[in-house]
């Protein structure tokens, strides 16, 4: 049986308030995913420039090859999958926001959101298969 909200600890309630998606509107979930993935992608852009800078250092080939060796580790490949997920969620939802914002499909934007997220899940699964097996 569910514990009444008054009996839950403050920390637990705070965590729920932030991360429990149940009972939230589709629009809010889409908005939160858009911002989270967006912040993640900005951080990635910075990391990408940092990593590419190893191509210009004095022992450039060695520094680059060391990075590539590290990038083949399964833990690193998992980060690649997370990156692909962030890109797809942001890209597909961004296209939806654009289309709906221009006045098209305003009555079916929720269905469109969940359909596109299902497409994202399938594409992430395919990308993960490529990343881990090729």
């Amino acid at each position: 049986m569910a514990v009444p909200i008054q009996q839950q600890s403050t920390v637990r309630r705070a965590i729920k308030a932030w991360f429990d998606p149940r009972g939230r509107s589709t629009g809010l979930i889409a908005f939160a995913l858009m911002r989270l993935s967006g912040i993640g992608l900005v951080v990635y852009l910075l990391l990408h420039l940092v990593v590419l800078s190893t191509l210009t250092g004095a022992p450039a080939p060695e520094a680059w090859d060391t990075f590539v060796r590290m990038a083949k580790h399964p833990a690193f490949l998992l980060l690649d999958v997370i990156l692909i997920a962030g890109i797809l969620v942001h890209m597909l939802n961004g296209l939806r926001v654009t289309v709906v914002g221009l006045g098209f499909g305003t009555n079916s934007h929720k269905g469109l959101f969940w359909t596109l997220m299902a497409v994202a899940v399938l594409l992430v699964a395919y990308a993960a298969w490529l990343i881990f097996t090729k």
Binding site: R35, G38, I39, L41, V42, L45, L46, L49, L52, S53, L55, T56, A60, P61, W64, D65, V68, I87, M91, G94, L95, V97, T98, G101, G103, K134
Partner: protein
């Protein structure tokens, strides 16, 4: 007439974010295909990378991608920060700071691109 009042109004930022977003779908797709599918197994070694950037078309595409993605990223961060209920003065400052950050990122990327292009074509 009454209906026209209900039409949504678009802020300049929204339109630019949508436009650059659509351009990014194309540029990012090209970026990913060129990096991971054109060469068998993708660009893995230092030599692979140099061969790749020796192509002027690639450099032009990468530089356009760099500019568009940086604009889109900074405009996105700006939208998030503006939701924090800032004063107008704080908004002006935020825009200035993000413009400078964006220019630094573009300059950094340009430096990398042309440094590598020079080595690759030397």
């Amino acid at each position: 007439m009454e209906n026209q009042d209900k039409l949504p109004t678009y802020s300049g930022t929204w339109i630019w974010q949508a436009l650059t977003g659509i351009v990014l779908v194309i540029l990012l797709s090209l970026h990913m295909i060129a990096h991971h599918f054109v060469v068998e197994g993708g660009l893995r070694t230092y030599e692979d990378v140099l061969r790749y950037v020796a192509n002027p078309i690639i450099i032009v595409l990468e530089v356009i991608f760099l500019g568009v993605v940086t604009y889109h990223a900074m405009a996105g961060v700006r939208a998030i920060l503006f939701d924090l209920d800032m004063s107008d003065r704080a908004k002006t400052r935020t825009t200035r700071v993000l413009t400078v950050v964006g220019l630094i990122l573009v300059a950094w990327g340009l430096y990398l691109s042309f440094y590598l292009f020079r080595i690759a074509t030397a």
